[in-house]
């Protein structure tokens, strides 16, 4: 069998137990709540009758394994149950909100990579000023809390560029221009810290590669320096960068939660936070499950990409 194919299959196979464990963990959340979760959920509306009713609805008195089985089969069919407050199917709610979060995180990551990689390369091979400036930016980007940065950006632009709204959202399909308007500040906010990490990683990786013997040999072949840096060195440096991108996506998802809250974007992150404050456990569960699945899938994707970039990874006996 083609070793590449084998690598892909193996990596896919590894994802399954991870998804399983994650689903169990999230499933257990509502069951781990101290006391009676339903009572907490209903709050002041809790009467023995209503509690019993909701417990029945949520099948909380069934055997644990049965609950899990029912829940997981439901999930696999795309059904997350109902929002017990509004009675709307959760899957609809999630379907509306996932694209928002995805748009936010993907745009932020794209921006960070597009800006961070070239800057990182310059930081590694460029002159003194290139290095100093990127150093400063990296320190700034890593230390400053991203949501504070977002607030500062709002402060900055509220006075001057009033066409950048501090909150709100409209779907891309409905109004592309408006959508981008609303997304600029949130994406920028998330992207700054991310760019700093990518610059740092790229610089470190590039420095490591530029010191290797094959670079000297490329010069001995008369290869132009530009070709060496961007053609050969970058490709060799790419694997760690891609790995970091994958890991950082998880961080971005976390950051998206805060940024969505900050800019009042109707994404999954904000949904989770609101639901926690409302003790709306089914929503919390569904939201966490979705986000975690996203994270795992992106990790898988990055591993596959890394495997393709660096043929040694996929050819070896393990991933």
């Amino acid at each position: 069998m083609n070793p590449r194919l084998r690598f892909v299959l193996r990596r896919l196979a590894l994802t399954v137990p991870v998804l399983l464990v994650m689903s169990v963990f999230i499933f257990l959340i509502i069951r781990l709540v101290p006391g009676d979760p339903v009572r907490t959920m209903l709050g002041f509306r809790a009467t023995p009758a209503s509690v019993a009713q909701v417990r029945g609805q949520l099948h909380l008195d069934d055997p644990l394994w049965q609950q899990y089985r029912d829940w997981i089969t439901g999930v696999l069919h795309g059904s997350f149950g109902q929002d017990f407050v509004s009675k709307a199917p959760l899957s609809e709610l999630l379907a509306q909100r996932i694209p928002v979060t995805l748009e936010l995180t993907l745009l932020a990551m794209l921006l960070a990579v597009a800006a961070g990689v070239p800057l990182g390369v310059r930081a590694a091979v460029g002159g003194r000023w290139a290095r100093r400036l990127t150093e400063g930016f990296v320190v700034f980007g890593i230390s400053v809390p991203d949501f504070w940065l977002g607030i500062m950006l709002v402060l900055l632009f509220a006075g001057t560029m009033t066409w950048l709204p501090p909150s709100g959202y409209v779907a891309f399909t409905a109004d592309p221009g408006g959508n981008l308007q609303y997304m600029i500040l949130p994406v920028l906010t998330l992207a700054v810290a991310e760019t700093a990490y990518i610059i740092r990683t790229t610089r470190g990786s590039m420095l490591g590669v530029m010191g290797r013997p094959f670079i000297t040999y490329l010069r001995a072949k008369g290869t132009p320096e530009r070709s060496i840096v961007y053609g050969h060195a970058l490709r060799n440096a790419a694997a760690p960068i891609a790995t970091v991108v994958g890991i950082q996506f998880g961080v971005l998802l976390g950051g998206a939660i805060v940024v969505e809250t900050l800019f009042a974007l109707p994404g999954v992150g904000r949904l989770i936070v609101t639901a926690i404050n409302q003790r709306n456990y089914p929503v919390v569960q569904a939201g966490l499950f979705v986000v975690a699945t996203l994270f795992i899938l992106v990790s898988l994707l990055t591993d596959l990409v890394v495997g393709f970039i660096d043929p040694r990874v996929s050819d070896k006996g393990q991933s």
Partner: protein, 286 residues
């Protein structure tokens, strides 16, 4: 355990003295912040919770260098107390995580085999969710609060610290003098105590320092979302949340706590990176 702590303390002290300038700066800043946090009641010019309707949204002046917030409370005093809250949560969380990670990682790295599997697999499960999400899940179960936030942070960083300690122990365990100890008939426990732990401790400290920086940001994020420290306790994240409401009228309420956070994170990062050279020459910490 005096031999263990003695060597680490000694090495840390000499490491601090020989640090690159940047790391020493980081250490000093942290020390200053720690002093501020501990001595908060003495240093804060005003009562952080004192509401003063006459000074609502007051601009910064000599008496109130950081200005006043929506309830007339002195921002500087609140920031000082908030340092205390945030730093104690962070120190507590990272300390707990380190203390638990130390034996787990050491055993996993030293013995390998099934011991490693039994320890590492469950810990790796925790890495299945991104950090903030894991913290949020925990808080979803138990409810918001400072203690929960600290525990959540400890939980997030436990697997990372354990992994570093494991890798570090692995490297040290293969060194000659460990073999020598075993050959002389020492029990595993003795070998671990006298040789492995003191020498493998370095990277753990480096990683802990770096993670502490991020912990501050996570704690701030959690408090900002209302999931961490609850009012009226001052926390940097909470102050950032409050500051939003009065952003255009009184930006100083928002600016200073944010800068404070950046300062702490910077200090921890400087310290961690600087310690790296002495305590983690082999680059166990990525």
């Amino acid at each position: 355990m005096s031999a263990t702590t003695g060597s680490v303390v000694r090495r840390s002290r000499s490491a601090v003295a020989a640090l690159p300038r940047s790391a020493r700066a980081g250490a000093l800043i942290l020390l200053a912040l720690a002093v501020v946090a501990v001595l908060a009641p003495l240093l804060a010019p005003h009562d952080p919770n004192a509401i003063d309707s006459a000074r609502v949204l007051g601009a910064p002046d000599l008496a109130h260098p950081f200005g006043s917030d929506a309830l007339g409370r002195d921002v500087l005093s609140r920031t000082i107390y908030a340092f205390r809250t945030s730093l104690s949560i962070v120190f507590g969380a990272v300390a707990v995580a380190s203390v638990v990670a130390l034996p787990l990682g050491t055993l996993a790295g030293y013995f390998g085999g099934w011991v490693d599997q039994v320890i590492s697999r469950p810990l790796d499960m925790l890495l299945v969710l991104p950090a903030l999400l894991l913290a949020i899940s925990l808080i979803a179960i138990v409810g918001p609060g400072s203690l929960v936030a600290a525990l959540a942070i400890a939980l997030i960083y436990l697997p990372i610290l354990a992994r570093v300690q494991r890798a570090s122990s692995l490297v040290v365990s293969q060194a000659g003098f460990v073999e020598g100890g075993r050959a002389r008939g020492w029990s595993s426990f003795a070998v671990l105590r006298r040789h492995v732990v003191p020498n493998a401790l370095g990277p753990l400290l480096v990683q802990a320092a770096i993670l502490a920086g991020f912990a501050v940001q996570i704690e701030a994020a959690l408090s900002f979302l209302g999931l961490g420290t609850q009012p009226p306790t001052a926390s940097l994240g909470l102050m950032l949340s409050d500051g939003r409401d009065v952003l255009t009228q009184a930006p100083w309420v928002e600016i200073f706590p944010g800068l404070a956070i950046a300062l702490i994170v910077l200090a921890f990062n400087l310290l961690g990176d600087g310690l790296r050279r002495h305590l983690d020459p082999q680059g166990v910490v990525s």
